[in-house]
Symmetry: D2
Subunit: 166 residues, 4 copies
């Protein structure tokens, strides 16, 4: 059983829409348990009690929102205890070139600090759409962007299975 | 007179197309001298002899191409002597989420090392299209992406005028 | 008159010590007005009403603290209105290799989003000590690290003078 | 058997010294095969034929050297085929604050593009010395910096064992 947490902050609802697609992609793989959770409801133990973690944020100044940063700043009780966890990122921005890749990097970078194994996606979900630092979207996610989210979710489960030896 | 250098590497020609648009945007401002140059023809003195520098690269693994890196690695004769220069970046990638923002950041980061003042763009050139780390494009640049390139070029001249006191 | 704001968050007091040194370096240049302010007391207008901005943060997971991120997330009333301002960064970490450079980059990256001109330092303040992304320290800042902070402050004023034409 | 490749570029010899320490740390774990290789001798298949990859570079403008970038730019025959590989980074710079963390990030970022799982280190190898983005050194590596390199090598093998299920 791969236990996956999709953790997100959302402002307009767009990042939540992406989070649902990531969760769908992960959940489509058999023997996977997926939890979708807003940062408002998150607890540090969530980081410890799941095998895989996808974190999504609106792009605010090219980095995760302060709420997500606060969650990680204050979850240090599990810092260094999550080396067998796998992490990935997603973000939605107001525009192409608006910082969604950078926001994904800010999330991966915090996960590296915690000791997690992180990854991104080499494949293209459709021509001209990929997720080399995590899944990204401009404004309300369209079908191609949601396909990239589902791809990210599937890939997360595959990596978790690899690490768990299942 | 603002002396602007638009320096680029290109593989498919797409980054060159962006470079031309950046040069057009800069050149549209009166009293501006714009040079467009491939990295194959560049000389370290180019960094010293211009007031503003826009550097463009294809997105290869989310960073400038090795040819551009080689140019900067080997131009250290002007390192620390370009503090009154202004720099910005642009990049084209194979896909949205493919690393064009990251490549812009890699260019800005090298410019910071050299001591330059760097900037990016807050404005949107059209709905859903901006250049918060530099101008970006997916594949062959479309009209909206070229508009962002011209905006970047104009902004570069404006910043140079500010720094030169003209 | 160059108006400089040194804005910081601090946990143990180390980042405040760095902030004081940055302020000292800036203030040592004639005709400079320096304000030192904790993020707890900051107002978005502070970004608008100064010519130069040095922002310092403890290194928490390689990025500015959530309090500083909250300040920038909520200061968008001046977003895009600070293109004639110059910015730089400093950070203290628990260890060498602990993320202080990354934290400086996170600060510069937010400033780029706001439209500011940003810079870092090419010079070495002493052998083995520089500030290529901003001034950094490990734990309680020592003399060499404080010298780098003062260098950063001086350089900030010099860049502001350049941009203001004074 | 964990097959580890420690791949490096070196200018003064300092990065090679770090590479040897990373290799020592990895090799100290039983049932591990470690290869130490200069980028001058590297082949794209090296990325494919090892389970774990530590890449080290001198810090040149806060990013891997152009030689290493050239190697990755030209190894795309294995791009997307190394998802079961684990990667990490190390770098030596001329000064504290000189870009060694940034260089590690540039290496991890390329590995993410290739599809690898990447990690860094939460632990401190000694007071004031860690490797949150990879192992770093200032100039000729001292004992504390070499201890961090060995820690990185050990951790690489442990992660490979996790992923390989051994």
């Amino acid at each position: 059983m791969a236990k996956i947490l999709v953790l997100y902050d959302t402002h307009s609802g767009n990042t939540r829409t992406m989070a649902e697609a990531v969760a769908d992609g992960a959940g489509a793989i058999p023997d996977t348990d997926v939890t979708l959770k807003s940062v408002d409801d998150a607890d540090p133990r969530d980081l410890f009690e799941h095998d895989g973690l996808a974190v999504g944020s609106p792009t605010w100044c090219g980095q995760m929102t302060w709420k997500l940063k606060k969650f990680f700043d204050e979850s240090t009780c599990v810092w260094g205890k999550v080396e067998d966890k796998v992490g990935c990122a997603f973000s939605t921005a107001g525009g192409q070139g608006g910082g969604s890749e950078m926001t994904c990097l800010s999330i991966l970078s915090v996960m590296l600090n915690y000791g997690m194994l992180v990854f991104a996606v080499t494949e293209y979900s459709s021509p001209g759409m990929t997720a080399h630092y995590g899944a990204v979207a401009v404004g309300e996610p369209d079908d191609r962007e949601l396909a990239a989210c589902r791809m990210l979710g599937r890939k997360l489960v595959q990596h978790v299975q690899r690490v768990k030896g299942s």
